[in-house]
């Protein structure tokens, strides 16, 4: 079955093409469009499941070797290139022709992503058929979503860097198209442009990295590149070599795509798109492409210790930065957006400390609970008639039960409460941060990560409290509020005809025809539960968010489960082992249970492996850590490694509990507390509320400077260049004036003089013939007659004259 994985990207593409090209022309009904879209994704999901099963489980699994469709001929030569040097380590200056093919690769990493993308995508598609009901651009939405699925699948299933890049750009494009779905809204148009341009900044780094890869390794295929890369020397902290450059470029790309610290600005603005878009693209799939890329190229990253540190620190910074901002936001989708940025920071933290499998594990669990929460938020918004401000919600628990309970599951998951999925992955991340031997400052990463986790629990509890619990504030609020004001402003400026029939721009309140829009009293809409198409996917995702973490039960529970990573190939760490390079053995492990297996020559003894936990120690050059390792420190105190782990688990649970408790305190028990503390921490509150003024800074430093230089260039062009051209034109005009004067006065003067002279000469002569005397005219007639006769006798007259004159 895995032979047919090339169908997986193709089916959503076909569905998108049908919907996009024919949906409007042939006037497909919503059912048909939705059916085509959901059907194509469902089919792709089923094929993915079958393929992954046949690849990794069942009779003769192909696992752990990667399977390329080119092995069975389902590929084509895409870019035949020129000669590149292929060094293969020691040989020098061998040249081969670069050949980039289009083939799909099925290996543990791409298998997970295939399942996540198609599975979570399927839930979101089904949700979207209900959410986008009534939109005039229904076909366009599903066309773009199908296109996005295609691009994302190409990204994760591609067998070389260039296919990844194609998918990378494709998802960026679809993100632009979908954020700007309500293209008649200025806000959405700006946000889509911002997303695309910020992505492009990252893509620049990515492209440079690809050039470096091709130049260094002479190929772009993963198998070729990684086989060569694994034999390079590790570049330790302070040494910067070619692999560090490549890793830097790759990481810049990842920052752009996954909204890490300097390039995160687009993600919150991207909430201007429809909620299913936010769920699919900006929670579950596109933003995780950076993680995919980092994990795919973990060989290169592991060879560059400096870059690993950079990754970890950037992830850490992003996590805490976004978490602080998320505490003060009032728009439900913005809170979730900053939560996404923060959780992405966690994932990069995991990658940075060397726990690549755990970062993918967190990608998976995050996909579940974040998509769930976004869809739940979409359900809330839909039920609240497109009100997004949490200050005007409250007490929705009894109005929207399905939404509430599913959201509840997601909330517990993100806070990291056992046994929900978020607990397992987050706990592993923090433990790996504390115990890492890959980079220094692991303890700092752990500390900041823990604080960020506390903040996460706090603001998610705040969200739950403001939305679902407490007083029903929507009953009190009349007109006003951000949504209504923006709506009214647009109406007053004449931008949007706010008619219930017309497509209401974005998530704005819809009104009945003739209803007055504006800051006057408008009646309250009672919230209602969403239709089945919308809450069924919520239930599915809630189930996944609850039990999805069991694929990653960590070694700390060994006494309970009986193995470090229980579940065989179903355990995510075991499953991903062939993909993560092992710096001890300097090889890609061939997988199996219990970490190091006898298949490869492993110099490290088993106990050392156990002590080193899930990630093996780096090269022996610094096996004894020169820097502080928190886990080892605690170990030395407790003298029991397992207890150390248990301690860290308990600490993370406690901090989650603290976060929840504070949230309940602030927003359920004493609702006056938030304002008091906001007053006390006024500077911090302002910084958080204004998103640390990052957008303003970019505007001042970059945008305005670029526009100033554009103005300067324009001034140069219009004054100097155009001045020269106009000068030439003026000179030409002057010359033509002179020539015209010469012609008019000089040449015409001569002509007129000649004409007058002739007239004076000839006129009297000719006039003399007009006597008016008839007989003169008769005389002339006779003369003419004579001449005729003479001509008649010309010869004879000549003879006669001759005779007369000569005499005869």
């Amino acid at each position: 079955m895995y032979k047919y994985i090339w169908l997986v990207p193709l089916l959503p593409l076909i569905g998108a093409a049908i919907n996009g090209l024919l949906g409007r022309r042939l006037r497909f009904s919503e059912k048909l469009i939705g059916g085509i879209a959901v059907g194509s994704v469902a089919l792709a999901f089923l094929i993915s499941v079958a393929a992954v099963y046949s690849y990794g489980f069942g009779g003769h699994p192909h696992w752990p070797n990667p399977y390329l469709t080119s092995q069975d001929g389902f590929s084509f030569s895409w870019i035949p290139g020129g000669a590149v040097s292929v060094n293969h380590g020691t040989e020098a200056n061998r040249y081969e022709l670069l050949n980039i093919e289009w083939s799909y690769q099925l290996d543990p990493l791409s298998a997970i992503f295939m399942l996540i993308v198609t599975g979570v995508g399927l839930c979101i598609f089904i949700f979207a058929t209900g959410y986008m009901h009534g939109e005039t651009g229904f076909y366009r939405f599903f066309a773009y979503m199908g296109l996005f699925m295609f691009a994302m699948l190409v990204l994760v299933m591609g067998s070389n860097f260039l296919m990844m890049f194609v998918g990378w750009e494709g998802v960026g494009l679809c993100s632009y198209l979908l954020i700007g779905y309500y293209f008649d809204r200025q806000e959405a148009a700006n946000a889509s442009r911002k997303a695309f341009i910020t992505n492009r900044v990252g893509d620049f780094g990515f492209a440079l990295a690809i050039f470096g890869i091709i130049a260094t390794f002479g190929s772009a295929q993963y198998t070729d590149v990684f086989n060569q890369a694994k034999s390079y020397d590790i570049e330790l902290l302070g040494h910067w070599g070619i692999l560090s450059w490549i890793a830097l470029g790759l990481f810049i790309g990842a920052c752009g795509k996954s909204a890490q610290l300097p390039l995160h600005v687009w993600l919150p603005d991207a909430m201007a798109g429809p909620t299913p878009v936010s769920a699919l693209i900006h929670a579950a799939t596109m933003v995780t492409a950076g993680l995919y890329m980092v994990t795919r190229t973990n060989v290169i990253f592991q060879h560059s210790q400096t870059m690993l540190l950079v990754v970890a620190l950037v992830g850490m910074g992003t996590a805490i930065f976004a978490a602080i901002i998320g505490i003060t936001q009032n728009d439900i989708k913005k809170v979730l957006a900053y939560s996404t940025v923060s959780q992405l920071g966690f994932m990069f933290m995991a990658a940075g400390v060397g726990a690549f499998a755990i970062s993918i594990f967190h990608v998976m669990t995050h996909a579940f609970f974040k998509a769930l929460m976004f869809l739940g938020a979409g359900s809330v918004i839909h039920g609240m008639h497109h009100e997004q401000d949490m200050r005007r919600m409250g007490g929705l628990k009894k109005y929207m039960p399905y939404t509430y309970w599913t959201f509840f599951a997601g909330w517990l998951a993100i806070c990291g409460i056992i046994p929900f999925s978020g607990f397992w992955s987050k706990d592993e991340i923090l433990w790996n941060a504390a115990s890492t031997t890959y980079i220094p400052l692991g303890w700092l990463v752990w500390l900041i990560g823990t604080i960020a986790a506390t903040c996460t629990a706090f603001y998610m509890t705040r969200l739950m409290a403001m939305t679902f619990w407490g007083k029903e504030r929507f009953l009190e609020h009349r007109a006003g509020g951000e949504a209504d004001e923006a709506h009214a402003a647009a109406y007053d400026e004449g931008h949007a005809p706010h008619d219930a029939v017309e497509p209401a721009a974005g998530d704005r309140p819809r009104h009945q025809p003739g209803e007055h829009v504006g800051p006057v009293d408008h009646h309250v809409h009672m919230p209602h539960e969403s239709p089945r198409a919308m809450w069924v996917p919520l239930v599915v995702l809630a189930v996944l968010a609850t039990i999805g973490g069991f694929v990653g039960i960590g070694p700390v529970f060994e006494p309970l489960t009986g193995s470090k990573h229980p579940g065989g190939n179903l355990n995510i760490v075991n499953w991903l082992k062939p993909v993560i390079w092992d710096p001890v053995t300097r090889e890609f492990p061939t997988g199996g249970d219990h970490g190091a297996v006898a298949e490869h020559p492993a110099p490290a003894p088993a106990p050392a492996t156990e002590a080193a936990h899930s990630s093996t120690a780096p090269e022996t050059a610094h096996a004894e850590t020169r820097w502080f390792n928190l886990a080892h420190a605690v170990d030395n105190v407790v003298h029991n490694h397992w207890l150390t782990e248990v301690l860290f688990v308990i600490i993370s649970l406690i901090v989650a509990g603290i976060g929840i408790g504070l949230g309940l305190l602030f927003y359920v028990k004493s609702p006056g507390l938030p304002d008091i503390w906001a007053q006390r921490l006024r500077p911090l509150y302002n910084a958080s509320y204004n998103k640390f003024w990052v957008d303003e800074f970019y505007g001042w430093a970059i945008t305005r400077r670029v526009m100033d230089s554009a103005r300067g260039v324009y001034a140069f062009d219009s004054r100097i260049v155009d001045g020269v051209v106009n000068g030439f034109a003026a000179v030409s005009r002057g010359i033509s004036l002179v020539v015209g004067a010469v012609d008019k006065y000089f040449v015409d003067g001569i002509v007129n003089t000649i004409a007058a002279f002739i007239k004076r000469l000839m006129s009297p002569l000719l006039r003399a013939a007009q006597t008016g005397f008839t007989q003169n005219y008769a005389l002339v007639m006779v003369l003419g007659l004579m001449i005729a006769v003479a001509i008649f006798f010309a010869r004879d007259i000549a003879t006669m004259l001759r005779l007369m004159l000569t005499g005869s």
Binding site: L779, V782, L783, M786, V789, F792, D796
Partner: protein
């Protein structure tokens, strides 16, 4: 067409008469004298026609030309009242320059014409194979076949018969066109000779001109057209 005997005699008489009359036509002081001299010239030429065997044309000439055209001339002379000349005060000839040039040209012209006639006749004679006597004998024979007149002094020639049969058969179209021409001439002459008063009565005057003429002659206003 050799004429002989009395025919030759009469030829000379009438020829000289014609030339002489023509000369006097041109040189007479009185217009009426000119007309009368022209009449005599025309009659002499008619006699020459008879001698040339074209009696019908001779008759036509006298009837139409003399009887019609010359009478018309005389009427017009009467109308335009040229009595002043009789007293001999006005010049009848043009200025000397004009007369001199005319005479020179005429002289040259007559020289050319006479030369042409002589050369042409020589050529015709050369081409003509039958001698003149034979032609005369044939013509005499043809004449003998004609019917004899009632008085038995001459024969009835068939000239009229020939002219008539040709005119109404082969020349029928020119004949009709000629009749139209005469019609046009009648109408034209009537129109040309109308007086202003007649034109006003017939409402045939341009309004602007009418205004001017009314200013000169108030009676015209009463003649305003009888427009029905």
């Amino acid at each position: 067409m050799r004429l002989s005997g009395y025919e030759a005699l009469f030829f000379w008489i009438f020829a000289l008469a014609a030339i002489f009359a023509g000369l006097l036509t041109v040189m007479a002081r009185n217009a009426v004298h000119s007309a009368l001299f022209l009449i005599s010239s025309l009659v002499s030429v008619a006699a020459l026609f008879v001698l040339a065997g074209a009696e019908f044309i001779a008759g036509v000439q006298i009837l139409v030309y003399v009887g019609g055209v010359m009478v018309l001339f005389l009427f017009v002379i009467m109308l335009v009242n040229v009595g002043a000349e009789e007293k001999g005060r006005d010049e009848i000839f043009n200025k000397q320059k004009q007369v001199a040039a005319s005479l020179i040209f005429c002289f040259l012209l007559v020289a050319g014409v006479l030369y042409a006639v002589s050369e042409g006749y020589k050529g015709m004679q050369a081409r003509n194979t039958t001698p003149p006597e034979q032609i005369a004998a044939q013509q005499a024979q043809r004449d003998r076949s004609l019917a004899v007149g009632a008085t038995r002094t001459s024969r009835i020639t068939d000239d009229t018969e020939q002219v008539g049969s040709s005119l109404y058969r082969y020349a029928a179209l020119p004949f009709e066109i000629a009749s139209v021409l005469l019609l046009v001439a009648i109408i034209g002459s009537v129109m040309l000779a109308r007086t202003l008063k007649q034109e006003v009565s017939a409402d045939d005057v341009d309004p602007e001109t009418l205004q001017e003429e009314k200013a000169l002659d108030p009676e015209l206003a009463q003649l305003e057209p009888r427009s029905e």
